[in-house]
Amino acid sequence: MPISASKRVKTLSVTRPIVYGNTAKKLGEIRPPNAPAEHTHIWTIFVRGPQNEDISYYIKKVVFKLHDTYPNATRTIEAPPFELTETGWGEFEINIKIYFIEEANEKMLSFYHHLRLHPYYNVSAEGPQKPNDEISSVFYDEIVFNEPNEQFFKTLMSTPGNLLPSNKTEACVFSKQLEQEEIDRVNLGIKQVDLEIEELKTKVNKQLKE
C-alpha cells in the first residue's frame, strides 16, 4: 500500500497521557515587583507529561486564555515547559488550547480548567493550615489520536510516550497502581449495581405475577 503524508492509518489510535492543572501559593513578604496590591496568590498553570517527560515532539504550543481582567488575557506558550505563572486574587475558568505539530494535521484541542487557589477541605476540620502550603489541582487525561496520518504516526511511534510509573510516588500520583485501584473500585461498583439489579428484577417479577 502506498504511503502518503496525508493518509490516515485507519482503525488505529494512539494515546498520549497528559497532566494539566495548577498550583497556587499565598503571596508572602516577597512580592513580584509588578503585582497589583490586591493580588493575594501566586499560581502556575501547566500542561505536561505525567512524569515531566518531553511532550513537545507532538505539541507545538499551548494557549491559555485567562480572565478578561488580565492584561493580554490570551497567553501563548510556544516551547516547553508549557506553563504560565501569574498572580491573582480569585478563581476562574481557564481555557486551555493545545495545538499539535504541523505534520499531525489535527485540529487543536480545547478544554477548561478551574483555577483553584483555596483548598477543598474545611480548614478548621483539618487543623491549622500553614500559610505557605502549596495548593494543587491536577488532572490526568489522555489525548487520543484516532486514525493519525502516516507521518504523524511514525513520529508518535518514535517515542514510547504512554509510559506510566508502576507505583504511586510523591512526584507522580498517576501510575499503574492508581489505574488498577480505579479499575478495582469501578468493578466493585459494578458488582454492587448488579446485585441491586437482581434484587429489583425479582421484585418486579413478583409484582408482575401478582
Binding site: 478544554f111 469501578v186 461498583g189
Partner: protein, 473 residues
C-alpha cells in the same frame, strides 16, 4: 237673495262685483274676516308663503283609498256543506259539518269514518264454574311441577274471589287494558296495587288459555314477573329522583373511571415493554463476538429487526399472534443461518442473499478488516507491552478520525437521568468522572454506567407497578 249674498256665504270674493257694489259693506267685511280668520298667529316668512298660496286652497287632500283587498272574483260556485249526524258509538249520535249537499249525504246518521280505528281488545270472559275449574287444574299442575318451590306471590293471590276477578276483567274490557286508568277506577273494597292487578289478570289469562289452547306459542308472553316489575319501577324512580348534584357526581365518577381504564391500558403497555426489557439479552455477555466485522453486521441486522418489531408492537391494531410467531421463527432461522455462515466462511453465497444495505455494510466491514490487517502489519514487530508503552492500539472500529480527550468520550445522559446516575455513583463512593481516564478505566466505567441506567430504569418500573397496585386496591 242677491248673488252677492251667496258669494258672501261661500266666502268668495268677486272683484268685478265689488266694483259695482262699492257702497255695499259686506265684501270688505267678508274680506277682513277671511284674512283674519285663517292666519291670526302666522307671522314672518310663513305668512308670506300663505300669501303666495292665495286664498281658497283646499284644506286636506282626500284620496279615495280602501283598507281592504278587492273582492275576489271567482267564477266557481260555493260548494254546499251539510251539518250531518253520525254515530259516535252505539248510544251517542253527534253532528258535524260534511262537504256535500243534503241530498247527496242522505238523512240517516252514518258510521263515523274513524270508527274503524276504534278497536277493542278481546278479553276473555268466563263463568264462575269455568273459572274455578281452570284455576284449580292449573294450580294442581303447578303444584305438581314445582312441588316444594311454590312461589309465595301465587299463594298470596288466594284472597281473590271470582266476583273481584270478574270486576277486574270488566274494568280491563272497559278501559282496554289502560292499567293506570284501571288502577284509578278500581274500587272493590280492598285496595290493591297496580302490580297486583296486573299479576292477577295475566295469571288468570294464562290459566284460561292453558286450558283452552295449551299449544299456543304466545302463552309464555303472558308471564308477568311482579317482583321484577316493582324493582324496575323502584330503579326508575330512583333514577328520576336524582338531584343535579348527584347527577354531576355520577358524571364525574364516570369520567374518573374512564381515566382509570386509560391508565390501566397504558400501564399494561408499559408492563409489556418492561417484560421485553427483562427478556432482552443480558449485556454482560462478552462483546468479543461483535468485534469482528461479521459480528458487527450480525449485530446490525438483529438491531434493525428489533426496531421493526418494536414499531409493529406500538400500533394499536391487534396483530395475528401466529404471524408474530412466524416472524420470530424467521428471525431465529436467519440468525442460525448467519452463525453457520460465519462458521463455514461461505461469504459469497451469503452475500447474494443479503439486501443492498447489508451488502454495503458488509463491504465496509471487509474494507475495515483489510485496514485492520494493514494496521496490524504496521505494528507486527511490537509486542503487546511495547504497544502499550507506545500508547498504540488497533481497535478495528469505525470511529471518526481526529483527536480528542479520553475523558470527553464518557457517555452523558438526559439531565434527569444524568442526575440520577451521578447520585448513584456517589452512593457507590465513586466520582462522576474517573480520576484516571485510561482506556481500561473508561471501559469499565462505561460498563458501570450501562448497569446503572438499567437499574434506574428498573426502579422506575417498580415504582410504577407499586403505584398501579395502590390504585387497583
Amino acid at each position: 237673495m242677491s248673488s252677492s249674498d251667496i258669494f258672501d256665504v261661500l266666502n268668495i270674493q268677486q272683484k268685478s262685483k265689488s266694483h259695482g257694489n262699492s257702497a255695499s259693506p259686506p265684501p270688505t267685511v267678508s274680506a277682513s274676516t277671511t284674512s283674519k280668520a285663517p292666519k291670526p298667529q302666522v307671522t314672518g316668512m310663513q305668512r308670506e308663503l300663505y300669501n303666495l298660496l292665495g286664498e281658497n286652497q283646499p284644506p286636506i287632500v282626500i284620496q279615495p283609498a280602501s283598507k281592504f283587498k278587492d273582492k275576489p272574483t271567482t267564477t266557481t260556485k260555493p260548494s254546499p256543506w251539510t251539518n250531518a249526524g253520525f254515530k259516535a258509538n252505539d248510544h251517542l249520535n253527534l253532528h258535524h259539518w260534511v262537504k256535500g249537499s243534503k241530498e247527496l249525504i242522505g238523512e240517516e246518521a252514518k258510521e263515523s269514518s274513524y270508527s274503524k280505528f276504534n278497536i277493542h281488545l278481546r278479553i276473555p270472559s268466563f263463568e264462575e264454574e269455568d273459572y274455578k275449574s281452570f284455576m284449580s287444574i292449573n294450580n294442581n299442575s303447578n303444584e305438581e311441577s314445582t312441588e316444594n318451590a311454590v312461589s309465595p306471590s301465587k299463594n298470596d293471590n288466594d284472597d281473590w274471589e271470582y266476583q273481584e276477578v270478574d270486576y277486574l276483567f270488566q274494568l280491563c274490557r272497559k278501559y282496554d287494558l289502560r292499567w293506570f286508568v284501571i288502577h284509578d277506577r278500581y274500587n272493590y273494597g280492598k285496595s290493591r296495587t297496580l302490580e297486583e292487578l296486573k299479576e292477577k289478570f295475566y295469571h288468570v289469562c294464562q290459566c284460561y288459555f292453558v286450558t283452552k289452547s295449551p299449544n299456543d306459542p304466545l302463552l309464555p308472553s303472558l308471564d308477568f314477573p311482579k317482583e321484577k316489575e316493582i324493582e324496575r319501577k323502584k330503579y326508575l324512580q330512583r333514577l328520576l329522583a336524582r338531584s343535579a348534584a348527584e347527577i354531576a357526581e355520577e358524571e364525574a365518577l364516570i369520567v374518573e373511571s374512564r381515566k382509570f381504564e386509560m391508565a390501566a391500558k397504558k400501564t399494561l403497555n408499559e408492563r409489556e415493554s418492561l417484560l421485553r426489557l427483562l427478556d432482552s439479552p443480558n449485556s454482560d455477555q462478552s462483546v468479543s463476538q461483535y468485534l469482528t466485522s461479521q459480528g458487527m453486521s450480525q449485530l446490525y441486522g438483529s438491531l434493525l429487526s428489533d426496531k421493526s418489531r418494536k414499531r409493529k408492537h406500538e400500533s394499536t391494531v391487534p396483530e395475528n399472534p401466529w404471524m408474530k410467531q412466524q416472524q420470530l421463527f424467521a428471525l431465529q432461522r436467519q440468525q442460525l443461518q448467519q452463525m453457520q455462515d460465519k462458521k463455514q466462511e461461505t461469504q459469497d453465497t451469503n452475500q447474494l442473499k443479503k439486501t443492498k444495505r447489508q451488502k454495503q455494510e458488509m463491504q465496509a466491514a471487509i474494507k475495515r478488516k483489510a485496514e485492520t490487517v494493514y494496521a496490524e502489519h504496521l505494528l507486527e514487530h511490537f509486542s503487546p507491552d511495547e504497544r502499550k508503552s507506545l500508547g498504540v492500539m488497533v481497535h478495528g472500529e469505525k470511529l471518526t478520525p481526529g483527536v480528542y480527550l479520553r475523558s470527553s468520550k464518557i457517555s452523558a445522559f438526559k439531565p434527569a437521568l444524568q442526575s440520577k446516575v451521578v447520585a448513584m455513583l456517589q452512593e457507590l463512593g465513586l466520582s462522576a468522572t474517573p480520576a484516571m481516564p485510561t482506556y481500561d478505566v473508561i471501559q469499565r466505567h462505561e460498563e458501570l454506567l450501562k448497569r446503572i441506567t438499567t437499574l434506574v430504569d428498573l426502579k422506575k418500573h417498580l415504582d410504577k407497578l407499586d403505584a398501579e397496585k395502590a390504585i387497583t386496591k
